[in-house]
Symmetry: C2
DNA sequence: ATGCTAACGCGAATTGTGTTGCATTTTAGA
DNA sequence: TCTAAAATGCAACACAATTCGCGTTAGCAT
């Protein structure tokens, strides 16, 4: 958040998708004015949401709570985000893009290990399942639909593609990584299967990465 | 639902877990009386929930809607299930146990293929993501906690264990299947990555099963 | 069959959530 | 600087969700 008030500048190429969906409540009919006060209230609301999540753990904050904490009037929040789910999704997407970079060094195992370790750690934090929940809610929302979800996911998938390209892993697709890394980590966290001790985290991460390697090997030569 | 009114008889060993958590609103202080009318209203409510899900797709029904449709008074539903989430979870767990059997023939690939195919198909139905959502909500509920979730999942895991035992796949654990099969299918359905054409389903299923085989081979001999 | 009481139905009361009209402030452009 | 309109604050409002008290029904044990 630093000193700059304009929090509109999120991360990399995922911004359009975020703006297109999450903050869809905005009336951009005439000439929009995203600067100044608008950015300021947006930042205040986001900040309040993050703090509330930090406090309350997995219990999602209501719009009324966010309004009280941020000092922004509830009607304003309703007008801009429409529903608590949309607000949470907006914050979640922005947070993920800030917090979970996808490394591209050319060493597949190293990249995957770094990314997975980061992912596992983040799912343990209070509200760590918030992103999954926000995505799932969006996926179940008929207003958004499959197309909308894919727009949200697309930038992450393309980053995975870069990681794979850099290491020459042509046997794998971004969707494979999604299924072999993201999916088990999130659902593992969900059923509380992830180890709590930090030293066991490394073993868990290594196992997941090994699975990816195993699939890659199997596809290149089904011995 | 057949002719029998007592829907209390669910499936296999997952019943205790269901009763212990989902229907926790029941006052079992004195001498309980789960038969007769109680079972009848429970059946009516469950039936209404299923029908509403079938109609409305992914949009979760409210308690008021369920009350209207089932003919059971809303206050009664509130008293027994406390929240819509608990009700949905109750129905979801029961449905899964009825709809998704875990085959045990001794042939790992065959068992996995049958199970996965069933799973993929069920996630496509209206409300197919309802179970995932119900579990996730439960996982995020502090009242339930990690212990509660594990109780819900335990019976399924033990079934997976039987499947693995029968085929001598000692390299794999039930959690592996959870991470390699359940997780990717659910999250794949979530981001709309699953193919829609029925003939592509087989390819998708085969790919997932192959992944499991690959991991098993890799662990038995990391060539 | 008879009594005890859990479970239910009913309707009112309460709370919480989301909407709308209007005055005021603030932004972006002329 | 000045102006049109976008964004916000405010308060009243409409509506849905949840709880409560109380009388009635119906399992279950005796």
């Amino acid at each position: 958040m630093s000193g700059d008030e304009r929090s509109t500048a999120a991360t990399q190429d995922s911004e359009e998708a975020t703006a297109a969906l999450a903050a869809d409540g905005v009336q951009t009919v005439g000439n929009a004015r995203p600067g100044g006060r608008t950015a300021r209230t947006r930042a205040a609301v986001h900040k309040a949401v993050r703090e509330l999540i930090e406090q309350n753990g997995e219990t999602a904050p209501s719009i009324l709570e966010v309004a009280a904490r941020s000092g922004v009037h509830a009607a304003t929040i309703y007008r801009r985000w429409r529903t608590p789910e949309a607000l949470l999704l907006d914050v979640a997407v922005e947070t993920v893009n800030e917090v979970s970079p996808i490394p591209v060094t050319g060493d597949l195992r190293a990249d995957l290990t770094a990314y997975t370790h980061n992912l596992v750690t983040s799912t343990r934090r209070p509200g760590g399942l918030g992103f999954l929940n926000a995505m799932l809610t969006a996926a179940r929302n008929p207003e958004i639909g499959p197309t909308g979800i894919q727009e949200l996911v697309a930038p992450r998938l393309s980053h995975f593609q870069r990681m794979l390209d850099a290491s020459g892993a042509t046997e794998l697709t971004p969707l494979d990584l999604f299924g072999l890394v993201l999916a088990p980590v999130y659902l593992g966290a969900m059923i509380g299967a992830l180890p709590q001790a930090p030293d066991q985290t490394d073993r868990e991460v290594a196992e997941i990465v090994d699975n990816v390697i195993a699939v890659r090997l199997y596809r290149s030569s089904p011995c």
